[in-house]
Symmetry: C2
Subunit: 368 residues, 2 copies
């Protein structure tokens, strides 16, 4: 449970950003900004739930009447306005926005609601809530880091079983192994599976491969990238194993990848721009001649959401601050042949980067 004082601290931080960005009203719906501020998750359905955060004064949660019993009321923080089935809730939202000239809307709010507001609030200036909420959300407090650590330890245990040969691979489909990883995520205490990518052989060259009916064979690389949400915070880890003999080209590439990942982790020093972490991993991979095969950014922030600010990508000048949590996950993908990725979650601290995942970083050969 987040104490009221912490919610109040977050709100105050967000309001100071609103002032800096000239935002009069903040509108939040599905996504994680609303739970960050008041602890309530909107249902991702067509009935509107909206938290209205004015620059000053009371917060208002507009919620379907049939979902009001789900709300944990915190009267010191927000009031609740339930709406019945035959009411148009966008009219209620628009009413709460009178007097505003700039409104920031939640990143993941469904566009149907924003389209409905565009016509109700003409001449309004619209911006992203992310600009004003993310600066606070990026900096994790001690309880948040502890939650990320527990989630990381949970997926480390699964990775250890994978590397120990305790998860059967050869003869099973990618989809079957994905389902087993999903079950293990839940068994290890996650309340929700976010993804369980399993990609074998040439399929591993597709970074976001959708696990399918391909049967895993001997002497193949198997890329496993899995994570979920545990006590409200996300895990995310990638490890690769080989079902038998490791070919020399794969071994050589892994050695480069492992070095790149290690150097990327070490680059995460407070004050450094996020793009420098990306440059650090990319330089190692490019230097070794695999540059064209590293087709994505080095990492993403992580917290209540599986991907959130800050991003480790060329062009991001955001300076790393103590409490920023993010992935370092370079990859090498050779189309038609194989792919590999190595991923840990890291927290920037004043004492240097703190790596949360401790599962073995080698390319392990498991009995075929």
């Amino acid at each position: 449970m987040v104490p009221l004082s912490e919610y109040q601290r977050r709100l105050s931080s967000v309001r100071s950003q609103m002032q800096g960005h000239g935002v009069d009203t903040l509108l939040l719906s599905i996504g994680h900004d609303m739970p960050y501020l008041i602890g309530y998750h909107a249902m991702p359905l067509e009935r509107l739930t909206m938290l209205v955060v004015p620059a000053k004064g009371e917060l208002t949660l507009i919620v379907p009447a049939l979902e009001e019993p789900r709300v944990h009321h915190i009267p010191e923080l927000f009031r609740v306005v339930p709406w019945n089935e035959t009411v148009e809730p966008l009219d209620l939202v628009a009413g709460e926005c009178s007097g505003a000239s700039t409104i920031a809307v939640g990143d993941q709010m469904w566009s149907r609601f924003l389209v409905g507001l565009l016509s109700r609030l003409p001449n309004m200036s619209w911006t992203r809530a992310n600009d004003v909420v993310s600066p606070a959300r990026m900096v994790k407090g001690a309880a948040e880091i502890a939650a990320l650590k527990s989630a990381a330890a949970a997926v480390d245990r699964i990775a250890a079983r994978l590397q120990g040969g305790d998860i059967e691979l050869v003869g099973r489909t990618e989809a079957e192994v994905s389902a087993e990883l999903s079950r293990q995520l839940l068994a290890e205490g996650h309340e929700k599976v976010n993804f369980a990518i399993v990609a074998a052989g040439e399929n591993a060259a597709s970074p976001h491969h959708h696990p399918g009916g391909r049967i895993i064979g001997r002497d193949e690389i198997v890329l496993c990238d899995f994570g979920g949400t545990m006590n409200g915070y996300c895990s995310d880890i990638t490890r690769c194993v080989v079902t038998g003999a490791i070919s020399s080209d794969v071994a050589a590439a892994w050695s480069v990848l492992q070095t790149a990942q290690e150097i990327g982790v070490r680059a995460g020093v407070v004050g450094v721009a996020c793009e420098e972490v990306d440059r650090a991993t990319r330089a190692v991979i490019a230097e070794a001649g695999y540059g064209e095969y590293f087709v994505h950014r080095t990492g993403h922030g992580i917290g209540m959401e599986e991907h959130e600010d800050p991003y480790m990508v060329e062009g991001s000048r955001v300076p790393l601050a103590a409490g920023h949590a993010y992935s370092v996950e370079p990859g090498i993908y050779v189309p038609g042949k194989w792919g590999m990725r190595l991923e840990d979650i890291v927290v920037a601290t004043e004492q240097g980067p703190l790596r949360l995942n401790e599962a073995c970083h080698d390319l392990v050969s498991v009995a075929a």
Copy 2:
């Protein structure tokens, strides 16, 4: 697999609606309109995927380069434009929209993308894609109805086990029973669990209750509302059981509810306005004196999405057409005491309403 000719038929139907609504360009991202038109599901993440559907000419799928290998290419239907990590994909989207004056955007598109387009395409008129896609999506073809039937049969088997006492209730928490229903949804062939509401005793008075640590006791009503996605189409069923003796007030209310649901199903005649289905169930419940306890609409459309058009709600003048699939799920909720709901999926046909769920409609007492 949907044949190319069917995709072409759908596109043609949507374009005819675009013409009728004065929509120049359709922009689709996450949600089910894109898979309905081209078979591809965008990943629900921060990297933009967007299908651009102009009134005439070629469709363009703008997709992150690292996700391009996920796309099943259908060159006769759309071209693919991959974007690399350091490109701003909204500029690509805006470029595809030159010349448009009215753009319809997908209901579930993240608002961050729409906000980004508002500044890039000033003076544009914005509307909902739902207006032009939903008329086609609402009318299910034979293959779609077959898929809904299979999914309904799968949850019927789970409901039968619940009613047969084969799912342990007393002494377990709501959350444990919810997890078991989720496992059974997957075991019965669903690829995805959408929800598994389990609400015991007074918790059943919260229609969208989040299953928690409350332990189920004897002689209590247990409301179970569960469904998932199977071969791309959704199931959704609600049944209630009592763990022991059924009190007379609960039995009396169930009798009213069962009659209301039956009359609601029968009201689903082709040509009738959707609101008439709602009125039919509501009249029975109000007549019996429970009107104030029926706090939600009677039902929602169902198909690729768990909730979609048409909605069985007061104010909906949409006439039922053959092929419309929807839920009929009246409920009675007495705060602090108990709640109950009874739900089937129904397809409107020229021969009258076809009920897809056949699990027993009684309030069954299961051994405590």
